[in-house]
Amino acid sequence: MSSLPRIARALRRTVLQAIPTVIGIVILNFFLLQLAPGDAADAMAAEAGSATEETMAAMRERFGLNLPMLDQLLTYLNNLAHFSLGYSPRYSMPVSDLIGQRLPGTLTLMAMALAIALLIGLTLGSLMAAFAGRLPDRLISIFSLLFYSVPGFWIGLMLIVLFSVTLGWLPSGGSGTIGSDLSGWAGIVDKARYMVLPATSLALFYVAIYARLTRAAMLEVRNQDFVRTAYAKGLSPAVVTVKHILRNALIPITTMAGMHVGGMLGGAVVVETVYSWPGLGRLAFEAVMGRDYTVLLGILLLSSLLVILANAVVDILQTWLDPRIGEL
């Protein structure tokens, strides 16, 4: 059976399930945010350090906070139905612009971190599996556990102290040289210099997970009949490891990586804060502190869409990796 119809069927199912999921997420988050004490006017006044009855009332009117809660939700849903994420009075700009400004930076950081994590994780995992039970396996195991258990902000700060403060090789924060008119290759190199440390800090935690998973999956696959058959055919150990063992071991890893996309999108707050990276995680955090629910709902909506998309990609990837998946 060709894989195309299967993929099409998987996609249709994903889209159909996505719509109620997204609406559910929006409504649930809206009410969750209402539970937080204080509203956007309180947060703005706190930030301003001065307030009067008139300014408080004017702010509540601007934010639409003077309306009953259900009206606020209906207004928001009505905006969504018109493909608008609404307007944030706190940031004085449309939420879609606000998110649009940050999305490219967040996605590249995420992609780079995921790529580093997968690359190093798979390599280390393969090595561990190859030397299972021997010294290299033990050593790599200790290191990966260390990175797994050390908090991200500490790793981030230590990398800054070493590579920025002491050695002066890389910038300590930001996402590019401000005010420079670098373009082309020089521009890419500049951006990459700023991305190395945050992407590494973000990746190290996941390296450990992928390395452990790869090791376990490869050890399991190694003892299966088709591997023995491959060896019996006379294939070289390297080809067997990469094409037969690793490929089959990738199923659990792609599943995990797909789940991590969502986590990295909103959960990179700590790394983004340490490196002053203009990402969505920090924006979401600031939106919570500022009680700006239009911004937060916009980010959560986008995140949920991205998670659904990532899952769809993983589904497709897995049907390609293992033709048995999705046959039923």
Binding site: A36, P37, A46, I160
Partner: protein, 538 residues
Amino acid sequence: MTTHPRGVLAPTRRAFLLSTAALALIGTLPGVSFGAEPVQGGTLTVNIGNEPPVLVLIAHTAGQSVYLSSKVTEGLLTYDFDFNPKPLLATEWDVAEDGLRYHFKLREGVKWHDGQDFTADDVAYSIQALKDNHPRGRATFAQVKTINVLGPHEIELLLEKPSPFLITALASSESPIVPKHLYEGTDPATNPNNIAPVGTGPFIFKEWVRGSHVLYERNPNYWDAPKPYLDKLVYRFITDPAASVAAIETGEVLLTVGANIPFTDIARLQASPTLGFETRGFGYGNGITRAEFNFDNKFLADPKVRVAIAHAVDKNFIANTVYLGHAKVLNGPVNPALAKFFTPDLPVYEFDPAKAEAILDEAGYPRGGDGTRFTLNIDPTQPAGAPRQSAEYIAQALDKVGIKTTVRTQDYAAFVKRVYTDRDFDIALEGMSNLFDPTVGIQRLYWSKNFKPGVPFSNGAHYQSAETDRLLEAAAVEPDAKKRFDLFVDFQKQVVADLPALDLVAPDSFVIFDKRVVNHTLGAEGFGSNGADIYLAS
């Protein structure tokens, strides 16, 4: 009230004296610091910690915006360290002796960044907009009854009652003058100019990349040529304290102000030969830390309990252990940096836990079987850092005298709602700004008519005293400086006796700068001035 013929400049007694003297002074300032010639060019990168909500303070008072608003959008006046006014957009000014008429001659030949002429209409519009929309402008300009444009570069304000603080309120970041042609007919609070400003200032707005930076560029047509000296001014928002320190140490940031720098790092940074520390220039902030008592709590309503608490808390411990010495102990509600209104002559509640216990016993709150007299909660403004640590210390200090105290933490918005709207607190550990004048910054906390649930930074204690009200109201309209000072001294004695709040310490504020950055702090506004004089020494 004084009246003057319209359209005619009234050459009154003091009209030009102040301003000419000030002009002579400002002319010498750039050379004063190191006796060197200012250098043209260079980029100054500044870390201000949190990202500001707006870049123009026409309808907002956010602390971080102060450092950005003033560089593009100027005010009528600027000030030396003693709050003596100096010319900026106004070249001459005159206050009538009865304090009811303010007359300004405006600078001619000034253009907005979009090429339009700056005129008295812009000033009239801005003052009205501040009066209608600004969280403090409402009070500052409350007495302004009429704004008369007397000519293209001449304006007068006629007041209902004297407002002695008005002349210090005309700084760029406190009362910015915005272009009428971009604001007229809009809501100033939501005008798009607030995030992409057009002003008259030495720097032109270039870009604001949210979450990353704001970029200003040199205004080549600035009215005070050859200023400004810097080519570019970059603002970064590094929220993480350790990362802020790293940015100073790597030299990526040349000036840090308003960012969260851990006290534990300050001694190390101070040892660096390339870094300088400036503690002056926070005249429009003047923050203090205080513990406010809720009078609606039956224990705290008893003055004896408040006095006992005052004796139980060692303010020196807070200054030395929480702030590591970077704070001054307070005996009253005025920050010593607000020198014109500070008095050292106040009664002191000495640290004496035994005396606190005696007072509590005598007041009828004996220790119970478990050693507890009664229980209280204390809520710090912030869930971490100095406010939290101060609250924890106070809780321990009160535990020792038998008042079982629990520290509750929440984020800032939740704190504001708890204290000012829900009034569900016993002791609130707050940071408050004295601002530039007690009528603007301190009166709001003690005036019984400012007990307004739902309004943040009002009289949260629910303190009511006819005598305090009388002193505050008299001082608010007293044009004579000496009489006004005396009224505020009496006021301070009154609130120290009544103890609606225990004033703890005045934390030091810092500008941490690379020593190549010259002229960043020249007066009370500090780095909140227009920055035209700043240059990078080679």
